[in-house]
Symmetry: C2
Subunit: 212 residues, 2 copies
């Protein structure tokens, strides 16, 4: 290693490399920008990091991010439909769904998915609170927005069984071709599912696939 960076700078590079998507060159570039900046934003960054770590907590109702003991912004929002509960694996999964701007119900973050290989069973997930919430709203729809991998499918089947009879309906997002994708780039499994679950172009017959 010919580069003789001061130890404090080396330690900063190593710490930055723990951030997702940051390699050694990237960390070095960030570290140099941080120590060279004449303004105070690096100190602000350190402050906001420590502050966020201290105050950001899971919402006691749904598990999404909030500050301290208060309900999260979604649970507090009286304009959201309490008759829809969208179940996701992690709190981070709420963000892409919110970005799609088509869902206006509530969420429930499980904190993981059933994965026997990783030692994660139903007892490790936030299920008691989900059952409690669904039981308290018997007319609700539960949307299982879990991953389409094996563990996500396993968790969805387990939940469908657990919640049977407790909610009005249990649904999941459609599986098929991604928007803007051509048939050439779709993998065989995706294309197979898209063909199996094909929808009619006339709305009156598309209900056979559970469309809403």
């Amino acid at each position: 290693m010919p580069v003789a960076l001061p130890p404090a700078l080396q330690r900063l590079c190593e710490a930055l490399r723990k951030l997702p998507g940051v390699g050694p060159r990237n960390a070095e570039r960030m570290a140099l920008a941080l120590v060279r900046s004449p303004s105070g934003w690096p100190e602000s960054l350190a402050d906001s990091l420590v502050a966020a770590r201290r105050v950001v907590r899971p919402c006691v109702s749904c598990g999404f991010f909030t500050e301290g003991d208060s309900l999260c912004a979604v649970c507090r929002d009286t304009a959201r439909d309490p008759a829809q509960i969208c179940v996701v694996e992690n709190a981070t999964d709420v963000i892409p769904i919110e970005r799609a701007s088509v869902y206006h119900g509530l969420y429930h973050c499980l904190g993981g998915k059933i994965s026997p290989l990783d030692g994660v069973g139903p007892e490790n997930l936030n299920l008691p609170r989900l059952v409690e919430r669904v039981s308290a709203a018997p007319g609700c729809e539960v949307i299982l927005a879990l991953g389409t991998d094996v563990e996500g499918e396993t968790t969805a089947l387990y939940l469908a069984d657990l919640l049977r009879g407790k909610s009005r309906s249990i649904t999941r997002p459609a599986q098929g071709l991604p928007f803007g994708g051509t048939l050439e780039v779709a993998d065989a499994l995706t294309l197979g599912r898209a063909l199996t679950h094909r929808t009619a172009l006339h709305p009156e017959i598309s209900v056979e696939n559970g469309g809403k």
Copy 2:
């Protein structure tokens, strides 16, 4: 903006976006990783950031990074050749040169380059100390490893004039085709310079281009 992240998390995202190469999605991903980590590395990151900002300073001799008032690791290294001074624009330019592992002399960081459009003149650069160092080592070689843009060329010409007669020789890195590049991908200016400064394959005649 449909995503309702807690304010502390939003502030962290905004602070992370100031890092070089970090866009909004990337900052969000980092912020979520930081607040979700069960271990203490985010606090270590904040600590090492604040520590690096406090102790990392420019070396009083050459301007490269060091801690506190001590000379930098390059200036302290008695194995380095004091008869070679490589002049670079910024302290960060030392790192790629060190990585090339072919240079074993000392450095001098100017702290910028002459750029009238940006209001940077010779008086804004660390030139007095350079003249002092070169004058103290009259047999030395000064290597002007500046950018090959207009400002870099201007600065090189200014320095060649300023240091005339003070050092044994003033050189600059060769300009030509990058290693591993094909002629097809070289731009016209680079290819033109590479042809103009072509070198002989027999070492005994290559000295006409200042090769060493």
